[in-house]
Amino acid sequence: MGSIGANGAILAVLGLYFVVLVGIGGWASRTSRSVAGFYVAEKKLPSWVIAFSTTTTGESGWLLLGLTGMGYMVGFHALWVVLGEVLGIAVAWAFVARPFKEFTDRYDSITVPDYLTDRFRDRSHVIRIVSAVIILTMVGAYTAAQLTASGKAFSSFLGTSYQNGVLIGAAIILLYTSIGGFKAVAYSDLVQGVLMFACLIALPVAGIWSAGGWDSLTAGIGAADPALLRPMGEHGFSVAGVVSALSFAGIGLAFLGAPQLLTRFMSARDRGQILQGGVIAVVCIVVFDIGAVLVGVTGRLLFPGLADEETVLPVMAAELFPAVVTGIVLVVVLAAIMSTVDSLLILASSAAVRDVVQKIFRPNAPERRLAMLGRGLTLVIGIAGLGSAWTESRMIFWFVLFAWSGLASAFTPAVLCSLFWRRTTRAGAIWGMIAGFLTAVIWALWVRDHFYDLSEMIPGFAVGFAVTVGVSLFTKPPRDGMAEYDDVRRVVGGFFSRGCGNR
């Protein structure tokens, strides 16, 4: 796609972007020499950074290639994804983030397993080991899905081979993530989020303009397939239609407890930053998701019959804009991919270094050596994801959701119960994590196809919550943990009641 001159312009924009990223990595490396510096930027991030970082980490190449492709395939039925994600993010920031921040500040936690271990007084380290296994397994799949998106993006924009696209994306991400740690990741997420925001306003507007305006767009789509205009899609109000809508809306549940997102709340400077960040995050996700669905819908009219629906955004950018703008859009796609992969690498590296090496085997190891180990592990995990993405180009939308659901089903029930139910016990949390994780994986691999294609997120959550609550009812919570829970609730308040704000 594109001439040598056009490819030159795209490469020039790409080169400039990579220089900025590596520059951020170098700048951030000054504060990433300790474990807390490398993994949570010493808990000093302002609202803008955590808001964009959380949203871009949650969205990824899935948003720009996966959700646009889904909009292309099912039309306005994809708005159910928007509903789930906007509600999920709003509830996470409004109700989950504040008590989570308060607890993690009291414990000096820098990872989610850190928090769960201290919350449930787990001296046996079972929570850390279970968490590390789940995180490392799912991050491998998640990273591979994002590198798949990188391969598709490079081959669509520049005509490179899929494998070369995977390789280039992996090389850049590994370079700046291993240099700068979490601070580099968070600030590069901010840059990447601003680019995504601009792109997801500009592309749908240009698409609707090219289609001859809104009325022409809806008339053209309706003529092609009236089901694309309906909220329940091709199935209508049938069991299959309702299950499909629930599966789409259920994607947003993961925002309530996925560890890569909770880490952002931990790294905020204080609770005031979280309130401000929530407003920014919700506005961002509204623009991101509606923009992506509209790109898919307009693409269906402008470029019907694409062999791979998930290339609609690159095709649209290349056909509607000059080469420099196409280069910027490629950067935006890569930004979305990178903003997620870098966060996942940091998450996996923290699970291994902080939760296993530092807390179990080498509590007295020097901070600098552990941070160096974190950099090394970041490289190793990234290379493992590269190996998985190399051989096969899968459908990004569902591949990402598999890993997304596995992580969220394992952690969300335990985290939410720990924050909102004082009777939650250590055994309840551990068995809830294991049950939620296994249910999501088993459902995705063997049950889903026989059950109206219901997303693994919903059974994963249901079983995770049921087991956490059930086991907790038959075991005894730590007494001082309950008193501490009451104190945190007094400080942060309830859902709609104001807390006292201090201890």
Partner: protein
């Protein structure tokens, strides 16, 4: 049909956006007074200031004034610290 889309699709559009926005703004209004420093509220005559980041003159609400549950609080942070970058 309204502007080319069925009414139900417009309803889904509104449901996708409105509840989330209302929820986060409500949380901001309810919890803001406790989470933002008092000086910021004074500036805006009793209403807390959006985007405000306060000075360190609010003893008792500051992370840096707390000890942790384990008594270490290595990550203790004072609000007097400036923004990053």
């Amino acid at each position: 049909m309204i502007a080319g889309l069925p009414l139900a699709t417009w309803v889904l559009f509104v449901l996708s956006v409105a509840p989330g926005l209302i929820l986060i703004v409500a949380a901001y209004r309810i919890h803001g007074p406790a989470d933002f420093p008092r000086d910021e509220k004074r500036k805006t005559r009793g209403d807390f200031a959006p985007g405000g980041r306060g000075p360190s003159s609010n003893p008792g609400t500051l992370l840096g004034t707390r000890g942790s549950a384990k008594g270490t609080n290595a990550g203790g942070i004072s609000r007097s610290e400036g923004p990053e970058g």
